[in-house]
């Protein structure tokens, strides 16, 4: 198709670079610098979508972030991107976009039937219509709504694009590069402040790009180019285009999304597609401008009806005509600027002005140019379904209530201007409660809660002179506060046309006998009648009206709809707008992609991966890894075609029969040092620590103040004032914080220091009846006999020239040792153990075998110490001192914890000795009892006992110890299993603990 609506030699797009793109399967062309909207309009395309509820045809209404309709779905580089605003997305070669919210196509849309079933979609329609009968919701309503509605389809593929996060600090962040943004940035930067200037569009200058003004003897465009060039050359300034400051958070932190690759066919190498900036600014200037307000009349949502400022920008920036027979409908002077622009480009517009006898420079200029103007005139209704074909216009009485002289005139677009609404979203997000400015019929920011100021038209200043003066002053004032410099730049003189007052009229009454839909919220299809209905039904708070009618919700956040909605509520309620108030503006101001929010924290990068120094050895030896917190640990070492079950059984069996070695580097390790270390441990652990001799280890349990077990592990006295504490892998960080809390806040008088040493040591657990024989060969110079290194003993030893620490502790229940060396030597140690262990049939074992070994020994771990158990529940009451006080002790005597029938740990064996019991199963007396079946407890951990070659589980059940010997049932509704079981002791293997002491 040819670009029939493109003007020659007008605009800022690059005419030397033609670009073709595809819209709804059809090929179009535009120029570099076009948006999808400007390129489509150049091709005469105005129908781009269907509305949310009624599926009415939708065209373009705005030219940037203000666009409520033209939301498309983009296909780029094999990626799908929904929720793209056609007015913001620049075109590139090969771009593919399609309409959303229409099915099967934008020209023939089944949902448009809703338009004729109005009773089906009144205000609150989701709440009313789809409530009955309940079964209809998921069978009929939801599938229908899902198919026919929505703003595009999210991709289900992994997004291969790169997104980055950046943290930045500055003296002054300025949001918006219009006249006020440029002037304040310039003044502040020249005064030595570190400035970030953000512009959401590709081009800097804001309203200067389209207004006919003069600053310091230059056109607005020339002046803005000069300022930007100078700012870019300054080392204390960051200037960013395509960057939207979308959220204002606590303590002056603002978040900005920078679109780096979105306008290119492919993201450039070494650059992310988008970057999310977290900016902590000492001061903020909000220069986000204002958005033109729509006027409300019949069928004001027809494609071809758009904001007059948008029509002007399409001409001046893109060189595109939105129509060749324009009708301009205005209540203020802004409409005339658009009319003059049309006229200059050889198109004769008709201006309808709601005002009776306005007079100003610009109206005179329009008249002199021969532009036809009708005063006290309104558009009653747009005509045409998929595009404006004509309009019913009428004279309106002085009291704005009665229409007369209704006539139909031909036109192909209606450019509306209902005056301007300051964009106070960011100020509002910062906590600034706005106030209503009667002069402009809109809210402006009031008192700053954070360090921000709003300037320019965002602050209700609509003349350029006022804006420029204010911005230069503010830029200096704010920078002076921070830098204490006094370099003031001179303010240029401004020449602009003076305008006269706007008309407060905004909503055209319906002519007798007509029921045109008059829309307030174009994105959410909220019409005048919806608000009226909501008020009739008793909704009063504007926040309730918003939720009931969906006015001002979704991605649009009321940018164009808010004030007219408030006006209507005020009119009906006989109130004034400030009494009604406005709804809360929430971040983001414009949609942000999930990718940008997530940044690099994707997949494997969503958390750090920690590997032990022996990781490579495990990999080479066919280890299958499992995530243990942030650590990767070998789950089992696969031989041939072994399954997890077979491998872990083999590994566990070998520990019981010969000797095994397990990587225990991941255990948390904390050094506790100082003259009061023993006293501190005595308060932290439930058992006694004052008499532990040097060179001995002790198992300990620590509680939270509420009596619940927090963690367990062994702690060894290395020397007089030095203890080596171990924690579980999962609780390591929490335990350190816990210890620091008590040392810093509760008992600061204790002279103790703690520090994490988890990364400093590599650990290997050597377990099994052959372990001593292996150790004797490993440490030929050290006495590791039962007398030389007894159970719970500790020794420093020499491992082929490397200093090692040997702890005789056991998690497996076998004769076992834990050897630690400095991390750098971890692999050396490991290989040495494997090498020396060969003659003793050593095999490495993973976490699965580790679990099996501890479960059949009845040793508790995380699945039993699950944040609900006190020591007594886990049969650890022997470790609870009656004599001394410790953290959490007082809680243990509370009535709930001393009840005789508390759930306690037991062992569970299936009667058939073959059926494994799923973890999480309930233990019940009668599987056929009436639901809900009273449960006695749950199965916490299951394994295949290698000692007895049958399944064995641990469970925590009511009155545990008394249940031993009883025949009960384990039920897993999830797996649909009911298994007859016998309750046994939790110490299934070696209950006297002879092996560890052998």
């Amino acid at each position: 198709m040819s670009q029939d609506f493109r003007l020659d030699n007008v605009g800022m797009v690059n005419r030397n670079k033609k670009i073709s793109f595809i819209f709804n399967g059809k090929k179009y062309s535009g120029y570099e610098g076009d948006t999808i909207a400007s390129a489509l309009i150049a091709n005469g395309v105005h129908l781009v979508g269907r509305s949310f509820k009624y599926h009415r045809p939708r065209g373009f209404f705005g030219v940037g972030v203000d666009e409520p309709y033209a939301i498309l779905q983009l296909e780029r580089n094999n990626e799908r991107d929904p929720n793209i605003r056609a007015t913001e997305q620049e075109i590139f070669e090969g771009l593919e976009v399609k309409s959303v919210n229409c099915w099967p196509s934008v020209n023939f849309d089944i949902g448009a039937i809703n338009n004729f079933l109005k009773m089906f979609f009144p205000a609150g329609f989701y709440y009313k219509t789809f409530m009955w009968p309940p079964s209809f919701w998921y069978k009929i309503y939801e599938p229908f709504i899902r198919m026919a509605a929505g703003f595009g389809e999210a991709s289900i593929k992994h997004d291969k694009e790169r997104y980055e996060h950046k943290y930045e600090y500055c003296d002054l962040l300025i949001a918006g590069s219009g006249p006020s943004g440029l002037a304040s940035a310039y003044a502040a930067a020249k005064n030595g402040a570190r400035v970030i200037l953000a512009e959401d569009k590709p081009r800097y200058g804001g309203s200067l790009l389209t207004s006919d003004v003069n600053i310091g003897n230059q056109t607005g465009v020339e002046w803005s180019e000069k300022i930007i060039t100078e700012l870019k050359s300054m080392s204390n300034v960051i200037v960013k285009n395509r960057s939207q400051v979308f959220g204002y958070y606590d303590h002056n932190m603002l978040v900005m999304s920078e679109r780096i690759g979105d306008h290119l066919p492919k993201t450039q190498k070494y650059l992310p597609k988008q970057r999310l900036w977290y900016i902590r600014a000492k001061e903020v200037l909000i220069s986000s401008g204002s958005i033109e307000r729509p006027l409300v009349f019949g069928n004001n949502d027809t494609p071809g009806v758009m904001l007059s400022s948008a029509a002007k920008e399409y001409m001046k920036v893109y060189g595109v005509l939105v129509g060749k027979k324009p009708l301009i409908f205005t209540n203020n002077d802004s409409g005339y600027e658009t009319a003059i622009e049309f006229k200059k480009n050889g198109v004769s517009p008709l201006v309808l002005d709601t005002r009776k006898e306005p007079s100003s420079d610009i109206i005179t200029e329009a008249k002199n140019l021969g532009i036809e103007t009708k005063f006290s005139y309104v558009v009653v209704a747009a005509k045409g379904y998929k595009k404006v074909k004509s309009a019913d216009i009428a004279k309106i009485s002085d009291n704005k209530k009665d229409l007369s002289n209704i006539e139909n005139i031909e036109c192909d677009c209606i450019c509306v201007s209902g005056f301007w609404t300051p964009s106070i979203h960011l100020a509002s997000q910062s906590g600034n409660k706005s106030e209503f400015d009667e002069k402009i019929d809109a809210f402006i920011p009031k008192k700053s809660k954070q360090k921000e100021n709003t300037i320019g038209s965002a602050n209700g200043k609509f003349t350029l002179e006022e804006t420029i003066n204010e911005a230069f002053d503010k830029g200096y004032e704010v920078s002076n506060k921070i830098t204490e410099n006094n370099n003031k730049v001179s303010i240029p003189t401004v020449v602009e046309k003076k305008s006269t007052e706007h008309d407060k009229f905004w909503c055209v009454p319906l002519p007798k006998g007509k029921s045109y839909k008059r829309f307030l919220d174009f994105q959410n299809d909220v019409a005048v009648t919806d608000i009226e209905l909501a008020l009739r039904e008793g909704f009063r708070s504007i926040e309730h009206v918003k939720r009931y009618t969906t006015l001002g919700m979704a991605t649009d956040q009321g940018k164009t709809s808010n004030l007219n909605g408030l006006q209507l509520v005020s009119d009906i309620e006989n109130k004034v707008v400030p009494q009604v108030g406005h709804t809360t503006f929430r971040p983001p101001y414009t949609p942000v992609s999930i990718g940008a929010i997530v940044g690099r924290e994707v997949g494997k990068h969503s958390k750090p991966t920690r590997k032990s120094p022996m990781h490579e050895w495990h990999e080479k030896n066919n280890a299958v890894f499992v995530d243990a917190g942030v650590w990767l640990r070998p789950r089992y070492y696969k031989q041939g075609n072994e399954t997890l079950f077979e491998a872990s059984k083999r590994e566990a069996k070998n520990v019981r029969k010969n000797v095994g070695v397990c990587d225990v580097t991941t255990l948390g390790k904390i050094d506790v040092k100082g003259p009061d270390a023993a006293e501190f441990l005595n308060r932290v652990y439930t058992n006694a620590w004052l008499k532990l001799p040097v060179g001995k280890a002790r198992y300990g349990v620590m509680l939270r103040e509420d009596g619940i077990v927090m963690d367990d592990g062994t702690t060894t006295r290395i020397s007089e004032n030095h203890y080596h504490m171990t924690t579980t892998t999962a609780q390591a960080a929490n335990v350190l914080s816990h210890l620091e809390y008590y040392l810093q806040l509760v008992w600061p008088e204790l002279n103790v220091n703690v520090v994490s040493t988890t990364e400093q040591w590599a650990g290997a657990a050597i377990a099994g009846p052959n372990s001593r024989a292996l150790l004797m060969k490993l440490f030929p110079n050290t006495d590791v006999s039962n007398e030389g290194l007894p159970f719970m003993g500790y020794k420093e030893a020499d491992l082929s020239g490397i200093s090692a620490k040997i702890y005789r502790i056991s998690f497996s229940g076998e004769l076992a040792y834990e050897v630690n060396v400095e991390s750098d030597f971890g692999n050396f140690m490991w290989e040495k153990i494997i090498e020396v262990g060969k003659e003793f049939q050593i095999q490495p074992y993973g976490t699965e075998a580790l679990s099996t070994l501890r479960i059949e020994m009845g040793h508790v771990a995380g699945s039993e110490l699950d944040g609900r158990t006190i020591p007594h529940d886990a049969s650890l009451e022997g470790l609870v001192s009656k004599k001394k006080d410790f953290i959490g002790k007082r809680s243990l005597s509370r009535s709930a914890f001393t009840k005789p029938d508390r759930e306690k740990i037991v062992g569970v064996v299936p009667l058939d000795k073959t059926t494994s019991i799923p973890e999480g199963s309930y233990i019940v007396k009668d599987p056929n009892a009436k639901l809900p079946n009273p449960k006695l407890g749950h199965v916490s951990a299951s394994c295949w006992s290698v000692e007895y070659d049958n399944p064995f589980s641990l469970a925590i059940i009511k009155d545990g110890k008394k249940m031993i010997g009883q025949k009960l049932f384990a039920m897993s509704p999830l797996k649909n299993k009911t298994i007859p079981v016998e309750i046994v002791s939790s110490h299934y293997v070696d209950p006297e603990g002879k092996r560890v002491r052998a």
Partner: protein, 89 residues
């Protein structure tokens, strides 16, 4: 995101800290006989004021010191921060 002044490190972003709750709670002395009610008050009962609140923050990704922060719970304004053992008037 809050910007918290750590008396040991300077101003840092909230994501370097962990929240630690009410800083005015005092743990009963060890070995002291106290009633169930007194103990429950210490373990479980916390005020949740709207307005000024003295609270604990732990600079876990910084100096690992626990600090006390006087913050307005509704506006998030931070009035002052203290070291763990600093006396607060």
């Amino acid at each position: 995101m809050l910007y918290i002044f750590c008396p040991h490190c300077g101003s840092r972003s909230q994501n370097e800290f962990a929240y630690g709750g009410d800083a005015t709670v005092k743990r009963p002395e060890l070995n002291k006989e106290i009633s169930d009610q007194e103990w429950d008050n210490f373990v479980y009962l916390r005020k949740s004021p709207r307005g000024k609140h003295l609270e604990l923050w732990h600079h876990i990704s910084g100096c690992r010191q626990w600090i006390k922060v006087e913050r307005d719970t509704s506006t998030h304004e931070i009035f002052k921060t203290y070291k763990a053992t600093e006396l607060i008037e």
